[in-house]
């Protein structure tokens, strides 16, 4: 009997642990949002987070989008050639970038760069008692550390996605015109004609959701970091993994919500 129950108990314990973790993250996110409506606000920290998360992520997001747009054009051309549909390259590159690849790859790249940095920074602050010091200086750590970062990421990632979309389409255009023999004007016309406003808006909304996830996970794991270098390292790794998985899961749910109803 025990041999049957032991694996079941292990599965049950894992599921309960996972649900408890999801609950804790949800409560953390909810508390962060409630601070949005309760002063004081730390404008300087918000602007600093905006630069760190938004502006300084631009190169990595731009380069990712550029190469992805180029590779996408090559793939669609090669795949489309099997049924004489090479001309769809501009429209598929544009739709693929703005609906899916722009927000998802942008979100993942920001998760790699920003979630790790936030978790490591806040985790180090925790183990060196800087978070306790904030409290003794009458400063709420959620207001001072979490809210500015979450707000900055939620607002800046859609902008990064928009820039990434444009660069990705440009990458496809460069490859289309220089390698695949497309006419410049025809490529641009096909891109614009087949792209709808909802394609762009849905991608930007995804970007906002991914930005929220990226910063929330970084802050959550940082605030709950264990002791010492190992604790901070584990918090950083967990934050990036959780943010990446959540971005992919949220992407599926949002795609389901936006495009199948």
């Amino acid at each position: 009997m025990a041999t049957v129950l032991t694996p079941l108990a292990a599965i049950g314990a894992t599921v309960l642990g996972l649900l408890a973790a999801v609950g804790r993250v949800a409560l953390f996110a909810l508390e962060t949002v409630t601070h949005l409506f309760r002063p004081p606000f730390y404008g300087r920290e918000f602007l600093s987070a905006l630069v760190q998360i938004g502006w300084l992520s631009l190169p990595v997001v731009g380069l990712t989008a550029l190469f992805t747009g180029g590779a996408l054009a090559l793939q669609i051309y090669s795949g489309g050639a099997r049924f004489n549909a090479e001309e769809v390259v501009p429209s598929i590159v544009a739709i693929g970038m703005v609906r899916e690849l722009g927000p998802v790859l942008g979100g993942l790249m920001v998760a790699a760069r920003v979630t790790s940095s936030i978790a490591a920074e806040i985790g180090t602050m925790k183990v060196t008692e800087q978070i306790d010091a904030l409290v003794t200086l009458s400063t709420h750590p959620m207001k001072y550390l979490t809210l500015p970062r979450v707000l900055a990421a939620t607002l800046s990632v859609p902008v990064l996605v928009a820039v990434g979309d444009a660069i990705g389409i440009f990458g496809g255009y460069i490859i289309g015109v220089t390698r695949l023999g497309f006419n410049e004007a025809a490529y641009l016309k096909n891109t614009v004609d087949f792209l709808q406003m909802w394609d762009i808006t849905s991608g930007l909304l995804k970007g906002a959701a991914f930005g929220f996830i990226v910063a929330t996970m970084g802050c959550y794991y940082g605030m709950n970091s264990g002791r010492g270098a190992q604790g901070v390292g584990r918090a950083t790794k967990s934050a990036v993994v959780a943010a990446s998985v959540m971005i992919l899961a949220a992407n599926y749910l949002l795609t389901e919500l936006f495009f199948t109803s």
């Binding site: 004081p40 180090t124 602050m125 010091a133 409290v135 009458s138």
Partner: protein
């Protein structure tokens, strides 16, 4: 006056505080001594509300520390952390005047900087230190900056957590003298936790010995050497033999 009445705190199966009773009179300097892991830091953090006791009561000036306006309560405190706990991302002067740059005690930028420089000078640091970052300072300088931050808003109560840990004997002496001078000059109530007996003798009006989660002995520092308390005697003489187990 700070009073702790029958304070208990456990972390999982570990019972850290098991009925702490202690009174610290206004304007006096109390030093808490005891071995590593005996709950000194937990006790100090409980007074600040950073740790919530499982039971018992802690009052400051007659008010329970867990109730009332937290900001107003914390505005009465200054604290020097063991490792300094300076904010890496801010220059020294903004660390010192952190409280004066935001919240209820907010002052104009220029005034906050002037106060920071004045407090830095008070702890023996030059105005040139103001624009450095914490990572550019030695351990002793970081402690001084932490001390300057603790006194920047002229608090009524100041806590010192292991103020001389990691410092050489000369720098320890300098920090001890500074703490004593500042506490006397400001008329503040001070609570210090330390292992360092030279700090105890330099800083304390009264001492309390914490062991096994309770206060084993408390009294004026002048009575410490004649206490006849076996725990206190073993601790102040650093003996391996005695009621306190050397391996804990």
């Amino acid at each position: 006056m700070i009073t702790l009445t029958n304070v208990h705190k456990s972390f999982g199966p570990k019972h850290v505080l098991q009925g702490v009773d202690l009174t610290i009179d206004k304007g006096t300097s109390m030093v808490i001594i005891g071995g590593s892991g005996t709950g000194k830091s937990v006790m100090l953090k409980s007074v600040l509300g950073l740790v919530t006791p499982d039971s018992g009561e802690i009052t400051v000036g007659g008010n329970n520390v867990q109730s009332g306006d937290r900001d107003a309560f914390l505005a009465r405190f200054g604290m020097l952390f063991q490792g300094g706990a300076l904010f890496d991302s801010l220059p020294v002067w903004q660390n010192v005047s952190f409280r004066l740059l935001r919240g209820a005690l907010k002052r104009p930028h220029k005034e906050a900087r002037e106060i920071a420089i004045e407090k830095l000078r008070r702890v023996g640091l030059t105005p040139e230190t103001a624009d450095l970052y914490p990572s550019e300072l030695s351990g002793g300088m970081q402690k001084r900056v932490g001390l300057a931050r603790a006194i920047a808003a002229e608090p009524e109560i100041i806590f010192f957590d292991e103020p001389t840990t990691g410092l050489d004997p000369i720098m320890s002496g300098v920090i001890n003298e500074l703490i004593r001078e500042i506490v006397v000059e400001m008329g503040a109530t001070a609570m210090t936790i330390t292992h360092d007996m030279s700090s105890v003798r330099a800083i304390a009006d009264n001492i309390a010995m914490l062991h096994d989660g309770v206060i084993k002995w408390t009294g004026p520092v002048k009575d410490m050497d004649d206490s006849k308390d076996p725990y206190l005697e073993q601790f102040i003489h650093g003996r391996a033999e005695g009621p306190i187990e050397a391996v804990r």
